[in-house]
């Protein structure tokens, strides 16, 4: 793709957003509503990607890319599957205690890859479910069913069980081993998880949010004060659904900041890291940054430009502590458009203009690595596409353009209640 003639910002964003949304059209199983984790052959479904898909359908309706009926149909198929599929401690169930396994077989909907019962991925799925419930609000039979199912699916999640007797939530559970024996520590994308857990009308865990914030690190790095987390997706995922502008909990009140401003600073720190480029990777710079969970070249050691280089596969790359192997996640920098459009958009234009061969019809790959060149290529580029990348691009561009998802979630009674319970004030609250 070559960005010529130069598109306006809005036209460029429209094409990028539409291309990202198309992922959900082509990697979807109409029998159960599941969406594939990646576009690669044989990929299972990721329940988090399903959550992004459920949130993307309203965007597509509002943008005229899909009829409301088609979106409703897809949503109903998905919610019916989620409510009717097996919930048990059996190792091949779809979920347990209202939570879902991270990866499901695209056809059968059963647990696959020996994956864990994932709390964060369930939270992202629930965010999508609640978005659907907030969007389909007319009194037709279908839209009423969406709201009923959304409420049912949210209410049946047993958050208290997931605490495993502790103050904070566990990261997951496996039928073979029980709870994964590590919890959420430090700031992360789990803010939406804690919000949803504390608002549950059936199994609330109100004190867990405060316990979690007790693990935060407030740092001054590269001259900026911020709540530290390395990978950019951590500063984005919860913000795809919740408008945190001006909202402060106890921690943020103490620091005189808010989570939205924090993500803005984190975005600038990513750019600053690229400018400093401590490991001297190729093509890091003012408009070439984006370090996040993304695909990578794979586990490999090579000597390049007189230096030993170690590459990784799919990994949560972050700054400034790494891992960093020269891989850039273009979707991550674009998804920061809502926080810092003045640097996110130039970065996306840079990728489009300097790497037209890796961006197919405006759809961004999960990762590319200019340091790793082979067989005459200018850089290594991830094969296919990843649903999480496409989902975050659709939602964040929409929030930048119309705040649609934010507005929908403001209407969801659970979210406001949870934030207030957590001691949050300000913003739309």
């Amino acid at each position: 793709m070559v960005d010529r003639p130069r598109l306006s910002d809005d036209d460029l964003l429209d094409r990028l957003q539409r291309a990202a949304f198309d992922y959900f059209l082509t990697n979807y199983n109409p029998a159960n509503g599941l969406v594939a984790d990646t576009s690669r052959t044989g990929s299972p479904s990721s329940i988090a990607v399903v959550g992004f898909a459920l949130s993307a359908y309203p965007v597509a309706v509002e943008r005229g890319w899909m009829t409301r009926e088609a979106a409703l149909e897809r949503t109903l198929v998905t919610l019916r599957f989620l409510s009717n599929s097996s919930q048990s401690a059996e190792p091949d169930a779809t979920g347990y205690k209202g939570f879902y396994y991270h990866f499901l077989d695209m056809q059968s909907g059963k647990r696959t890859w020996q994956s864990e019962l994932s709390l964060i991925d369930t939270a992202l799925l629930l965010a999508g479910i609640l978005t659907a419930g907030a969007y389909f609000t007319d009194h037709s039979e279908g839209e009423s069913e969406v709201r009923t199912l959304a409420d049912l699916l949210y209410r049946r999640v047993d958050w208290r069980w997931a605490q495993n007797g502790k103050a904070t939530l566990s990261q997951g559970w496996k039928p073979e081993r029980g709870f994964l024996h590590y919890g959420w520590e430090g700031y992360s994308e789990a803010i939406i998880l804690y919000v949803l857990a504390s608002a549950s009308p059936t199994y609330p865990v109100p004190s867990s949010y405060e316990a979690w914030t007790g693990t935060y690190q407030w740092e001054n790095l590269y001259g900026r004060d911020f709540l530290y987390a390395g990978p950019l997706f951590i500063h984005q995922f919860s913000h795809a659904w919740i408008d945190f502008r001006g909202i402060q909990d106890r921690f943020m009140r103490e620091k005189g900041s808010d989570y939205f401003e924090n993500s803005r600073r984190a975005t600038y720190i990513q750019r600053e890291y690229a400018l400093r480029n401590p490991h001297e990777f190729r093509d890091y710079g003012e408009n070439s940054w984006g370090f996040s969970a993304s695909d990578g070249p794979g586990m490999e050691r090579l000597r390049i430009d007189g230096r030993d280089r170690r590459f990784f596969g799919y990994s949560a790359r972050g700054v400034p502590y790494g891992p960093d192997d020269g891989t850039i996640a273009p979707a991550a920098s674009l998804a920061s458009i809502v926080f810092a459009p003045e640097i996110a958009l130039p970065a996306t234009r840079h990728f489009c203009e300097h790497y037209p061969d890796i961006i197919n019809e405006y759809r961004l790959p999960s990762g590319f690595n200019p340091t790793l060149t082979r067989n005459g290529s200018r850089c290594w580029v991830s094969e296919g596409y990843f649903g999480l990348d496409q989902g975050i691009v659709v939602l964040m561009i929409e929030n930048y353009r119309s705040q649609l998802i934010w507005k929908l979630m403001c209407q969801c009674p659970y979210i406001g209640k949870a934030l207030r319970n957590a001691g949050c004030r300000g913003g739309w609250l």
Partner: protein
């Protein structure tokens, strides 16, 4: 020399053969730390202080007490120096140095140098150097040197005989104050087949004369990480298994992550959130079944090194007779003054539940003498005690961790400087790591600090000094550091504090002031 010390044929026959090799350095070592001809002195009427255990805490306390003129007895059942000196810190640091040299040789090209051809590790030479170094340093803690300082040194099993007396080698030592510093022994996990297959601990790993081609390290604490990296760099194919999600237990997450990356870069196979559940042998091989989050797997190795921690040496001392309460798993409970449940008896070092670091033992020695003899009320919790894990990069810490401050309700702000922003670290090719200084929010008071850097153990001292002397970041920013040095990272952090104070109003005022 104490009046009743004697050198002569010993009547004490406790075997120490497990440590004895034919190596000449070890003979020298043994002669200094447990002379074969040693004869225990006749006890004085009543000692001001009797110390059980001649590890770092015991020796330092005995020395300090002798320096102030106290009548002191020091009892050791094996070798002076304890595990730290004989089978711990000194031994490991010696081989870590050599292993670092091998790593640098292999990495020479990244420094613009030639990689030496045919690098091969002479493991026995590495171990011989370690024994030479250990023997050399042993002079400072020899039985003779302690005796010359006025310490009555006894070899034998100590046993309380009431709250005021200890018996050793048939002699009854009466005391006004006592210190239990009997140390700890390696804890061994209950893994089916481990005992039958055989394993190494810090007590015998330094007796090896051949580097195991494949080594499994159980435990990702300081000992496990240090030795895993050292053996890997000396040619072992190392796998490390840690049951927790990160290395180094309580260390800060980012430090543990940097260490994890460093170990992986060296080629160590890392299994976090994993436990060994079974061991079996096939010929000379040990097959270890692991259970991790991704299920069961098996690793085949030649040796297994256990480094999961230690168990306190509380049995056999008859602590009950002295009214000293203890737990066989966690050790002797002490208060903040290091007093046990018998206030005239103190405890320090690995035998205690809360002071299991050699760095703390040094501080504890000073504290015990102060509190025991001078009605002091010095508290352990008020001391700034640094510690360090000697991997590459090293991980050092002093003071509070962020999570500790959060738990106490203290608002914290951290000033972070990456080593890649420190010129000398870049020129040295040692730019992995960071300096993090935690201050009370809104002030420059240093609450704690973590340094992950090639020489973190040296760098943390400046921050320890600052905390001890009550120096804040504002004053630290006025301390000139030689340029370029890696310690300049600390000044950069202090400068970042000053910059953060330059809020918009202040910036505006400065701008107005500088309009000339």
């Amino acid at each position: 020399m104490s009046a009743n010390s004697q050198i002569g044929p010993s009547t004490w026959q406790e075997p120490v053969s497990s440590h004895v090799t034919s190596n000449g350095y070890d003979r020298t070592l043994l002669q200094r730390l447990h002379p074969a001809e040693w004869r225990n002195p006749e006890p004085q009427d009543r000692y001001n202080l009797v110390v059980i255990g001649a590890g770092p805490a015991g020796i330092l306390t005995a020395r300090n007490a002798a320096k102030v003129g106290a009548k002191v007895a020091l009892i050791e059942r094996d070798r002076l120096g304890g595990a730290c000196f004989n089978v711990g810190c000194i031994s490991s640091k010696a081989i870590i140095r050599t292993s670092r040299l091998y790593a640098e040789m292999r990495n020479a090209e990244n420094f613009g140098a030639q990689v030496p051809t045919g690098i091969s590790v002479d493991f026995s030479a590495v171990m011989e150097r370690m024994r030479r170094v250990r023997a050399r340093i042993s002079q400072r803690i020899s039985a003779q040197s302690l005796t010359l300082m006025g310490v009555d040194v006894y070899f034998g099993e100590a046993r309380f005989e009431g709250p005021e007396a200890i018996v050793v080698d048939g002699k009854r030592l009466r005391f006004r104050r006592a210190l239990v510093a009997s140390g700890a022994r390696p804890a061994v996990p209950a893994i089916a087949g481990l005992a039958e297959a055989g394993y190494l601990t810090n007590e015998n790993v330094f007796d090896l004369n051949e580097c195991p081609p494949r080594l499994l390290v159980l435990g990702g604490g300081p000992l496990g990480c240090e030795l895993a990296q050292a053996f890997c760099r000396m040619g072992s194919q190392v796998t490390i298994v840690q049951k927790d999600p990160m290395f180094l237990g309580n260390e800060e997450r980012d430090a543990a992550q940097i260490l994890s990356d460093a170990l992986a870069r060296d080629g160590i196979v890392i299994h976090l959130n994993t436990e060994a559940i079974n061991v079996r042998t096939e010929g000379n091989q040990k097959l270890v079944d692991l259970m991790g989050d991704d299920g069961k797997s098996t690793v085949t190795v030649d040796e297994i090194l256990v480094g999961i921690g230690s168990a306190p040496n509380v049995e056999g001392i008859n602590l009950e007779a002295a009214g000293v309460q203890y737990d066989k798993d966690t050790g002797i409970a002490t208060n903040d003054y290091l007093q046990t449940s018998n206030p005239r008896i103190y405890a320090a070092g690995d035998v205690c539940s809360g002071t299991k670091f050699p760095h703390i033992e040094t501080a504890a020695a000073q504290l015990v003498v102060h509190n025991a003899f001078f009605w002091g009320r010095a508290r352990l919790s008020t001391l700034a005690i640094p510690w360090c894990t000697y991997t590459d990069p090293e991980i050092a810490h002093v003071g509070l961790y962020i999570k500790e401050a959060n738990a106490k309700g203290i608002p914290v702000k951290t000033f972070t400087v990456m080593m890649h922003d420190v010129d000398r670290a870049v020129t040295d090719g040692e730019d992995e790591g960071f300096v993090k200084i935690h201050v009370r929010e809104g002030t420059d008071k240093i609450l704690g600090a973590t340094v992950a850097a090639s020489h973190a153990g040296e760098m943390i001292t400046e921050l320890s000094l600052a905390m001890t002397a009550g120096i804040g970041l504002r004053a630290l920013s006025r301390v000139n550091h030689p340029y370029p040095t890696q310690a300049q990272a600390i000044k950069l952090a202090a400068d970042a504090y000053l910059d953060s104070r330059h809020r918009p109003v202040r910036r505006w005022l400065l701008k107005q002031w500088l309009r000339w």
